[in-house]
């Protein structure tokens, strides 16, 4: 019997695979989903992957799966795993190759009616000004010394050097830079790959979307985030580019040998791990934090060029304010009350977003009364969501919620029987203009390739992890 057949329903939105279902599991798997989502999840190996995560030494609480879970490498995407900081392990696969892949949302002082007549012009301008990086480089020219400073300062360095506004850095998770980053642990190769790529989107599922606020679901939170109906916002989805990818590649290479030293065995090589407090564990975390800081600087660079593009079309009076920036591939030291005791844990979020509730000291001061903003991009041409973190996340999911719609189909299956011109025409009929480096990129990201984002949101809202604040609809899409 497969794990999907053995899963137990706890309530309408929670499911459990008990730890005795598979040899080596140290804890349960807990899945947040509807019955329909469970049926979809059962089609790939994501539940097996979540069960594999439950075997990691030092895991605290359950191996968690968000409703957007799908099959990844080692860890499922949409997986959360907290390990004990003193005797648990750190797994680079629990962060992924795209360290601090994340999302930021920017609000404009423009409405849907302002943008609609000039939408094509705007999309073309943004496409010119915000490179995807397929040619290898962007417009930010920095030397190696600058790069090493960026690895420490993250978004703040970019702001200090003219690529942002003073309020930008503080409106990001961790203030746009993690402390204790160690640039010396980032290889020369990683630096060489990343240096020309700052301010570039990348390809795959990375994108930039011009959207409007379709509906407000929670007025106080929307007001705190500066959102109103028909307002224009821009969602940016990108990560640490070649620098982060190389950091993960380098660490996996090193961990194969280190695991033998620490006598650690895992069911999948991509789950390679070492003790958090080991030399190798600390080296990885130092490099990972540096790569995370690079990702924040990257999204800050993209924001700068986005602002330029909007000003070119709508004039100097156009303001684009950063609402917030969240990461969804990261490992962070956080503290939770578990069984009445405070525990220091390393929370691995692999395709999952932090969602701290109202009153949490780490939420930016101007949002603290409503909870941390969370942005959930849907698939191309559908909807995206703004959420606010809720107390349930602290009680159940190590302050975490979902990160997207979650893929259902492989890229090849998504393309099957589809013609790019008819896909583009259908989108244009709905008022959505798409520019992509490749036609293939458009077909691979068609909406049918993903789960229904609204259903994913319904789960986290009703489970009390994050609440609905606003639903966003796309107008212009720029893709790698």
């Amino acid at each position: 019997m497969s794990l999907a057949e053995r899963i137990e329903r706890i309530d309408g939105y929670r499911w459990r695979i008990p730890r005795d279902e598979r040899l080596g599991m140290r804890t349960d798997v807990r899945v947040y989903a509807t019955k329909a989502i469970i049926d979809q999840i059962a089609k790939d190996h994501s539940l097996e992957q979540a069960a594999n995560v439950a075997t990691l030494p030092g895991i605290v609480g359950s191996s968690l799966a968000m409703p957007d879970i799908h099959q990844g490498y080692g860890f499922p995407i949409g997986g959360v795993c907290a390990t004990d900081l003193s005797h648990g392990v750190v797994s680079p696969g629990g962060v992924g190759f795209d360290i601090n892949c994340g999302v930021r949302l920017v609000r404009a002082n423009l409405t849907r009616d302002d943008v609609r007549p000039r939408l094509r012009e705007l999309v073309n301008q943004v496409f010119r000004d915000v490179p995807c990086g397929t040619g290898g480089s962007g417009f930010v020219k920095i030397n190696l010394k600058d790069l090493e400073q960026i690895l420490i300062e993250g978004a703040g360095w970019m702001v200090r050097h003219g690529y942002g506004e003073p309020r930008d850095a503080e409106h990001a998770e961790a203030g746009g830079a993690l402390a204790d980053a160690d640039p010396d642990k980032v290889s020369d190769r990683a630096k060489e790959r990343g240096r020309p790529q700052i301010g570039t989107l990348g390809s795959g599922n990375h994108f930039l979307e011009i959207q409007y606020v379709e509906k407000i679901h929670d007025m106080p939170a929307a007001q705190a985030f500066g959102l109103s109906e028909n307002q224009i916002v821009v969602l940016i989805h990108s990560g640490s580019r070649g620098l982060g990818h190389q950091v993960c590649t380098d660490s996996l290479k090193e961990m194969g040998a280190a695991m033998k030293k620490y006598d650690l065995q895992v069911p999948d090589r991509q789950l390679a791990c070492v003790p958090v407090q080991s030399r190798e564990g600390q080296a990885y975390l130092g490099a990972m934090r540096a790569a995370a800081n690079f990702a924040w600087a990257n999204r800050q660079g993209i924001t700068h060029f986005l602002r330029q593009a909007f000003k070119r079309i709508f004039g100097d009076g156009t303001h684009l304010d950063l609402i917030y920036d969240v990461c969804h591939n990261i490992a962070k030291h956080e503290r939770y009350v578990i069984g009445g005791k405070k525990r220091d844990v390393l929370v691995h979020r692999k395709g999952a977003t932090r969602a701290f509730p109202p009153g949490h000291p780490e939420v930016t001061a101007d949002y603290r009364h409503v909870g941390q903003p969370v942005f959930i991009p849907g698939s191309m041409g559908t909807a995206s969501w703004v959420l606010a973190g809720q107390p349930g996340s602290m009680e159940e999911t190590f302050g975490t919620t979902c990160h997207g719609a979650g893929r259902l189909m492989s890229r090849t299956a998504a393309k099957k029987g589809k013609d790019v011109n008819s896909v583009l025409k259908d989108l244009e009929d709905e008022g959505i203009i798409v520019r992509s480096e490749t036609k293939k990129g458009i077909l691979e990201e068609v909406p049918e390739a993903y789960k229904d984002v609204d259903e994913v949101i319904e789960v986290v809202h009703n489970a009390g992890l994050a609440k609905k604040v606003a639903r966003l609809r796309p107008m212009g899409v720029i893709k790698g």
Binding site: Y73, I77, S137, R189, H245, D268, S410, E437
Partner: protein, 139 residues
């Protein structure tokens, strides 16, 4: 399997199977497979040679490290690799010549940006006298 490689499916990413009469030929074909996914490999001229050597714990490890090396050459702009000659190979060591064109100034753009080579379900094996592998790429 008669073709030197074929693309395989994965929900979020992409993989390939490759084969060869010897480990050397298998590794050459695997590199060819990855670069065919990454770039328009036919447009790359064999203008420059780079010699590389790779170490690892076993064949699967060696394959990941070899492909990661090629990915690094491409993404760093040092070389758009199109031709591969494995001169010497054991399960823990490989020496090869990679042939291609320098990539400064945005020539030979990515067709599909490959983030990394993964260990996910990786296989390298000899079956009925032929060497085969399976590799997934993170994109």
């Amino acid at each position: 399997m008669s073709e030197p490689f074929e693309i395989i499916e994965h929900t979020a990413d992409i993989g390939f199977r490759a084969s060869g009469a010897t480990p050397a030929e298998l590794f050459e074909n695997a590199a060819q497979a990855m670069m065919s996914i990454a770039a328009d490999i036919d447009a790359i001229q064999p203008a420059r040679d780079i010699r590389i050597s790779v170490e690892a714990g076993d064949y699967p490890d060696l394959l990941v490290n070899w492909l990661s090396e090629i990915l690094y050459l491409f993404d760093s702009g040092r070389l758009a690799p199109a031709g591969f000659h494995v001169a010497e190979i054991t399960p823990v060591h490989l020496r090869a010549v990679v042939r291609g064109e320098p990539r400064e100034g945005g020539q030979h753009p990515w067709k599909l940006i490959i983030k990394a080579v993964t260990y996910h379900e990786i296989e390298v094996a000899e079956r009925n006298g032929r060497w085969e592998c399976k590799v997934y790429l993170d994109i």
